[in-house]
Symmetry: C2
Subunit: 398 residues, 2 copies
Amino acid sequence: MEFEKYITKRAKPLKASGIREMFKLMADPAVISLAGGSPDPELFPTDFLAEISAEILKNNGKKALAYGTTDGYAPLKEELKKRTENISSFDKEDKIIITTGAQQAIDLVARAVVEDDDLVVVESPSFVGTLNSLRSVRANLIGVTMESDGMDMSELESVLKGGKVKLIYTIPNFQNPTGITMSLEKREKLLELATKYDCLILEDNPYGDLRFAGTPVPTIKSLDKEGRVLYVGSLSKILSPGLRIGYLVCRGELCDKIEIIKQVNDVHTPCLTQMIATEFLKRYDVAAHIKKACEVYGRKCRFMMECMEKYFPKSVTWTKPEGGLFILVYCPESIDAAKLSMEAVQKYKVAFVPSNNFATNIDEKTSSFRLNYSTMSEEKIEEGIKAVGTLLKEKLGE
Amino acid sequence: MEFEKYITKRAKPLKASGIREMFKLMADPAVISLAGGSPDPELFPTDFLAEISAEILKNNGKKALAYGTTDGYAPLKEELKKRTENISSFDKEDKIIITTGAQQAIDLVARAVVEDDDLVVVESPSFVGTLNSLRSVRANLIGVTMESDGMDMSELESVLKGGKVKLIYTIPNFQNPTGITMSLEKREKLLELATKYDCLILEDNPYGDLRFAGTPVPTIKSLDKEGRVLYVGSLSKILSPGLRIGYLVCRGELCDKIEIIKQVNDVHTPCLTQMIATEFLKRYDVAAHIKKACEVYGRKCRFMMECMEKYFPKSVTWTKPEGGLFILVYCPESIDAAKLSMEAVQKYKVAFVPSNNFATNIDEKTSSFRLNYSTMSEEKIEEGIKAVGTLLKEKLGE
């Protein structure tokens, strides 16, 4: 049977994320993966979670196993409200919707506000999950160049002048894939431009807690008085990605519609995982847990950069993140990062993600690639970077 | 700030499910809810699940908390394959995708195959979650009348003749909301017509295991040789709805696309809930568990019908389900079921769902309503039915 004719225009151009495909390869334990975006599994509070999950099911099992409300488990919403009050001045009008990971929050927003061919601005490069979600609603994606302190604001303004933009998507803290943080000045400018040209902002902040250097910058949401910013948070990086707990903060009719779309999408996020997350936030020493994670990631990040200094050719440069999970590596233009990554996996079993995955046009030839430092041990990081360095030197003749 | 202008054409007409809204009212423990579609919470294997969840997190915590693959946890797919082999002749070409509840499976199919204005046939009345999901992709819904043995096949054929239908949605076993089961003859006819007019079939079978009377009928999927049937299953009714474990069986390029849409939607279903479901299927006496559920639901269903005989006016009739969770009650046309249900909640704190919720046109006036017998105790069922009977007698002067 020929299935192609049944597939919608919106589904047809979608390609599997190169990263998710690599994820399959990475089932091979011999592979050194600098490709993922996972927190360090050594940091998962497994014993604590084992205890509380048993406790929840024993004492409150009917609640954990029955249907829940679409907007989420009320005590979890309370805990998240407390957490988010620390990083923003959330207005009383704002509501929280718990989502099945931050990806679902982004996808719900895409379905709620992006019409066929609507112009949507994204950072260039940007997070592949969001790009694909926007593609699935047939957005017309426009990339704006990332500078060392965030999007190029004059480029952004000329894009906004050029045509009616509906939505601007940004990861202001330790961006995926660049690791770059947007300056306060640019955050203010972004909000000003969005207001002037009447676009919504989707602020995605999965890494915000993972700062290991520099000074925290207020969220764009905290600068926004009218609800123009839709804010996405996640427990994936501070608790566990596999539990799939994300959340969306937004308001008004838009929030109500997004809740209905969530209802048609998965009714609600599993109750058990929400209840586990609640107890984690309530009873675990989350501040100490995050502090430890930041120490580990800071150390690994610095170590990876030391290795790159040591093993990479001189013409190769990289971003210097103050937090998060990623470094972006820039090679001379002669390098095709997609080919390089294939060779690295085949020859040395080292995986990383070439930047075409993060481009608005996935077929674009790119010479940069993303490295993750959070998942592997320092030993493996050195081994991986050394192998990539060898490959790069070979190609560049340095 | 005015949000309406940002909302897409596809999101604008979506209304919250009346049932989900009632769910909020039902937080009041004094309400007798004949409105839900939950299994009996007394049947949840809470102690067993407490034990295995702790075991999983203790012994296999890194796996449970890390990112998983989009198509689902391999051992769960194996267990489900075994279960589904019993009820159908799944071809080796078929693949299983684990979803965050059956609702997500339906929603993914809608996104993959339904284009704006595509004709989609649904049973009239049908499951509100699917209707809303189809509305969210701007399907043109056409209802086909339910007879006591399933869809009216001659009506279906004239619809198929009348215009290009993309998809036919059916719940062949103990349908929601009618409780009706489609005969084998009609299942064969449905597949024949779908083949003749080249449409896909979405077979949704959440209640199939819950048969307490009559003889099992083969799934439509088991009659299908070419992959025209997309089959949706669920653990919501035999294990727990709150864990949100559903699955989709389909094949070919269509299956690959649906997997990618799942990737942009929520990356993957939480690992922990998938691992819990796996151990439940592997180690719990699932057959005995289902047998017990069927006994309970059969008893409650018969009891509810006895109460209706006793308390309802003679002009009111109802379906006689052989399984599942629902009875549909037909009143004389003078009754407006939507108004009746409001009065029942306000006067007697008894909740049930009027059929306009299950209609392709939600503003349609309907005189039938859905009753659920699985959730409440027999005492509450009698109290609730008595109250509804009093109201009906008042209205009908019987």
